[in-house]
């Protein structure tokens, strides 16, 4: 059995166990060194086997990519379809928070892209651990050390903003242009990069206290609006990996969301695709204006 170790994500290492000659497509499409390892790894075992869902309860369809299910113990599972000619593969929970299994219906002839199963298993794991949430977001750290999260569904401008920020201010440290990790502990809310970037291939390994939340959208000119915590809650919840399959596990994520919207500065920003607009975002998030997370 081959083993592939992925650098830690928000302090959680990921280990792929590869059985039956299954090979993973190179994960270093982004340069991911990993964060400091501070907790038990998430182990994902890949093997050939029964990839049917007959013993699972179908919960949610996400066509054409996958369906989500629950097993008899109420733990999550996901069936990924071979949209691009891959074989169907079923991700199931072995031990909540630490061990997951991907079963392939047939031997894959080519190396397998791990992104879907890895990202989904990680989202299952951090939910089970109550460790945090994955945000569909662009995120960066200002020169003064403030973490900024810009959540939004596809098409809202996450990758555009990341590219503009890269040009606008070299002192800005980009964390991600697609998937950020948000954690809450005694030190407060932190935002982390991830190895799962968008088209901008932004994958930063650092983290910072989250001090500003910016809801971005495309606009003809820069327009800013202060968002109330209640509105921010309703808007951000749709961009987070909430464990809605298990109501009892929603408590900790709700505490994380409260930590975000209660402490961070909350703004909505419309912006045109210019470096001046990106510079303006950085200025707004800078400590001269941001509310301290302390």
């Amino acid at each position: 059995m081959a083993v592939l170790r992925v650098g830690a994500v928000a302090g959680i290492p990921i280990v792929h166990e590869l059985c039956d000659g299954i090979r993973l497509e190179r994960l270093d499409v982004v340069d991911w060194a990993g964060t400091s390892e501070v907790s038990e790894p998430v182990v994902i075992r890949h093997e050939l086997g029964d990839a049917t869902t007959t013993r699972l309860r179908r919960m949610l369809d996400v066509p054409p990519w996958c369906t989500f299910h629950l097993d008899a113990a109420g733990e999550p599972a996901a069936l990924f379809y071979g949209v691009f000619g891959e074989v169907d593969r079923l991700l199931t929970t072995v031990t909540p928070g630490t061990r997951y299994r991907v079963r392939y219906a047939a031997a894959p002839s080519d190396p397998v892209v791990a992104l879907q199963s890895e990202l989904t298993a990680f989202s299952f794991a951090i939910a089970a651990r109550g460790a945090g949430l994955i945000a569909h977001a662009c995120a960066f750290i200002t020169a003064t050390g403030h973490g900024v999260l810009c959540p939004g569904i596809s098409g809202t401008g996450k990758t555009t903003l990341a590219r503009l920020l890269r040009d606008a201010d070299p002192a800005v440290e980009l964390l991600t242009d697609d998937r950020a990790i948000v954690t809450l502990d005694d030190r407060g809310v932190r935002v982390w990069g991830s190895p799962w970037p968008g088209a901008g291939k932004v994958a930063g390994v650092r983290s910072a206290p989250l001090t500003t939340l910016v809801f971005i959208r495309h606009g003809q000119r820069v327009e800013q609006r202060v968002v109330t915590p209640a509105e921010a809650f309703r808007r951000i919840v749709n961009t987070l990996s909430m464990p809605l399959w298990e109501p009892a596990r929603c408590g900790r994520p709700l505490e994380v969301i409260d930590g975000i919207v209660s402490r961070a500065r909350l703004i909505e920003l419309a912006f045109p695709p210019t470096t001046d607009a990106a510079r303006w975002v950085v200025t707004e998030a800078d400590d001269r204006f941001a509310v301290s997370a302390a």
Partner: protein, 110 residues
């Protein structure tokens, strides 16, 4: 889910099978046992209480009947009594149907 539109005259209290969290200054309820009751369950639902709902939710920490809740509502929000009772009953029906409140047993009378 329940389909009865009326609530009984008995006492009501918070169900143990609901998760309540303060988020952004609001109370968010997540019913925990909806899966057992609903064959069409497709995942947790989040319910946010408005100001009146929060007031009633706080009172429901201890068992109370609809009339008692309505009386408190009238005092707090200067609402007409009949309107307050109708609001309370609608609130209790809604929360009963999502499994957030339950009927409390009547206290033993010696």
């Amino acid at each position: 889910m329940g389909t009865q539109s009326q609530v009984s005259a008995g006492r009501w209290t918070r169900a143990a099978t609901v998760l309540a969290r303060r988020v952004a200054g609001e109370t968010v309820l997540v019913p925990l046992d909806s899966r057992a009751d609903d064959p069409e369950y497709k995942g947790a639902r989040l319910y946010v209480l408005n100001e009146t709902g929060e007031f009633l939710w706080a009172l429901l920490e201890t068992p109370r009947n609809a009339a008692d809740l309505a009386r408190n509502l009238t005092l707090e929000f200067e609402t007409a009594e009949d309107r307050a009772l109708a609001d309370v009953e609608a609130f209790l029906v809604a929360l009963r149907d999502i499994g957030a409140v339950r009927e409390a047993p009547e206290p033993d009378v010696e």
